[in-house]
Symmetry: C2
Subunit: 466 residues, 2 copies
């Protein structure tokens, strides 16, 4: 590899070096798992200070383009391979699009199987839209979304206790796009973003892509510890915090009202915005639907994201967000730059589906069905060997988060289970710290009750053996 | 406004200042067209060097968040308002999603009207897909796209003389998303990107969003002048160049074979990649279909983007790109971070539409129809008063680019025409240099022959009056 440094250029030396290495990795000229030259060697060759090389390597590591092995040096990260425990996943977790697991029992996938989709009803609304609107179904929509759909969403939100003007509602192609548009609007290189630990890796990717520093705070059963968060806020400038308040992915916890209100007080005191990602609040099995953080938000500091991928149809790519008033133009511009607008036909069909009340009926059906799976899986977990424990007792959602004894060999367990045809997701896929968490996530989105019986018994056997 | 600078922090002072001002603008605390404090005032207040303030202001100006008035100071840019000539458009041109122009004669829009969409055929394929695939139509697709669609695209490309493996084909939600994914993968803060002058503003937005320096090279009738490009390349590191080789937007020019080959030689010598954006090569009216740059690309340096928005249905959001082999994993990861994958139903329906040969039949129909409009509009332009000239004589596409005498009052002409119900796009919307180009673009995508007759006669009258 040929590295060049130009002392005359305005760009700092470590940025020049970082950019050349990054380009070589992105373009695959430095291949996965190959070792980078030692710092001293590069420094000598280019006649620069070793500290400059260290700074360049640190930047690459932060973007997960390289990883370090203690006592050995730095290596090029392989591109995303989430089902393999080794190496870095370069912050891309393709958990729901991987075909390797279409056979076997899939406790890894977080999305419902196609037999649960309301295809008949949806086909009806598509055809009604095509007959009603003809070619209009295929014109560009506004970047904010098809207006009647935004009105339907306003009514839907009203039923959830969230009252918002239509102008604040932005339609997006799934929650991932919402997070990404927010990241590109609100996060700049070197900004500090706070997340829950553990959390959803797709959000980490979007923030890392902007060059953010990410700090994570461990979850308790009712949210993160606000005292330690405040200590941090006193020392550091934070622009954004990303959380899931209801049946969090992967832990299943729900933020308490106290902590929700406490977080809003901190946001006011330390001047930051909060992204509230909600894809599961519809799936409550004990008591009532959790109340969103947005409902308590008097200072317009919460950006509320609602996705239907987990309770409806993921491949439709349909979600929305509620924006603080002052962010409306910036997010509209970001959506335009990203992909102009969402599919007109999908928006019109989803609008009709909402207006006709189909969605609520469907969600109730899904809640009943998932509740049975939830109860069955919880019972099965309770019969796991001692030491393998539920980290939290969720009140809804699609996940269970299990903790393991410290000396437990998670990788061995994971690979053995995969061999027997049972998949789940190991803890480190949900961590910003690139290390093996002694935890794993079980999801019951894509398995029926028979599969839960069979798969959980199999895991139980393996756990007893290890 | 409260500005704070912390001399102890690692972040440079000008970056701290830039970020606070940027956030205030994004969050609308600094409102559009309000004046920023003079450099000296901020420097005194914060006890910093005026040069530091200048650097922060320059960054803001590069991102089009503020604009300067000579002799008066710096002002906050208003958010995008493309149909108004004044102020900055903050690099967002909502040319095709603005409803203001749905009445009147629209020479501004670049997309066909809904009456031209093949709704009947497309409804057929949607229903066939729903009957055939049921719920599978709504599962997540792979980030690269639905495999059978990528196969159909391979066959479609083969007919165009481009032979590429399926693995290189990435499905995206429109050409804008393709450009944006490439920008976020290949362009870092401070990188140098080259574009044609004039060019498509959506591409400029995507590059500016990454903090790129953009340099533009004026177009000649057969592409940009390669000698001046090479002089530039000798002095500057360039990572990327963005061009439209066929019936360019807005000029209508087509790159000659000589210049295509010359550009590839330069790419090889100076080690850069080329984005070839093709949305109009199907609409050739004189001679044969232009040959793509990608067809001549032996070193895998061209990224080919093909969109169907202009010849098919824009609101379907369907396009693809052909990637150099080494970029495949990085772009796949970028697509995942951006929005996971494209709509499954749209991909499956479009696949069937391609397989059944519907697209080719439809495009031939569109070519005939647009050719008649093209010829009519060209005739009408030739009867414009002398001084108002076609800058180039296009061989196809949807646009004419007209130049005006230097002393011509374009703003007055533009507003008068709008008042009479005729819209077009003024030159500066296509320029990275935020100034009034003495040019404008006429498009015949959204107007029928009667409207062309009437609208062009009206413009002719106005031109004679001014």
């Amino acid at each position: 590899m040929l590295l060049k440094i130009d002392q005359e250029r305005k760009t700092s030396l470590y940025i020049q070096l970082y950019k050349q290495l990054k380009r070589a990795i992105i373009e695959n000229r430095l291949t996965a798992n190959s070792k980078l030259p030692p710092i001293r060697v590069i420094a000598d060759e280019l006649e620069i200070n070793p500290a400059t090389v260290v700074k360049a390597y640190n930047l690459l590591e932060r973007e997960e383009l390289i990883y370090k092995k203690v006592g050995s040096g730095s290596y090029v990260s392989p591109p995303g391979k989430p089902y393999i425990l080794r190496g870095s996943n370069r912050s891309v977790l393709i958990e729901d699009t991987d075909e390797e697991l279409t056979s076997g029992i899939n406790f890894a996938s977080a999305t419902p199987t196609p037999d649960l989709f309301p295809v008949v009803d949806f086909k009806k609304v598509i055809n009604r839209v095509l007959d009603r609107d003809g070619g209009e179904s295929f014109v560009y929509q506004k970047s904010q979304g098809y207006y009647p759909l935004r009105e339907s969403i306003q009514i839907y939100l009203h039923e959830l206790g969230i009252d918002q003007e239509v102008k604040r509602i932005q339609v997006v192609s799934g929650a991932q796009q919402a997070i990404d548009l927010l990241a590109r609007t609100l996060v700049d290189f070197d900004d500090r973003v706070i997340v829950e630990e553990p959390t959803y890796s797709g959000a980490l990717s979007a923030f890392l892509n902007r060059g953010a520093h990410i700090s994570s705070f461990p979850l308790e059963h009712d949210g993160i510890d606000l005292d330690s968060l405040e200590n941090f806020l006193m020392a550091e400038d934070v622009s954004l915090i990303y959380i899931m308040t209801s049946f969090q992915n992967p832990t299943g916890i729900t933020w308490s009202r106290e902590k929700k209100e406490g977080l809003l007080r901190l946001a006011s005191r330390y001047n930051f915005l909060i992204i509230e990602d909600d894809c599961l609040s519809d799936l409550y099995y004990r008591g009532k639907r959790p109340i969103s953080l947005k409902s308590y938000d008097l200072e317009d500091r919460v950006i509320y994201i609602k996705s239907f991928s987990k309770v409806f149809m993921p491949g439709l790519r349909m979600a929305f967000m509620v924006l603080p008033e002052n962010l409306i133009p910036a997010i509209q511009a970001a959506k335009y730059t990203a992909d102009i607008s969402c599919s007109g036909l999908s928006q019109r069909a989803f609008d009709l589906y909402l207006r006709e009340g189909f969605l609520n009926t469907h969600i109730e059906k899904m809640r009943e069905l998932f509740k049975r799976r939830f109860q069955l899986m919880e019972r099965k977990i309770n019969s796991f060997p001692s030491g393998i424990k539920l980290a939290f007792r969720p009140g809804g959602g699609l996940y269970f988060w299990l903790t393991l004894p410290d000396d437990f060999n998670l990788e061995k367990f994971y690979l053995l289970a995969l061999k027997k045809g049972v998949a789940f997701l190991p803890g480190r896929l949900f961590s910003i710290k690139d290390k093996e968490l002694p935890c794993f996530r079980l999801s019951f989105a894509a398995v029926d009750e028979n599969e839960i019986e069979e798969g959980m018994d199999l895991l139980n056997q393996l756990l007893c053996q290890i």
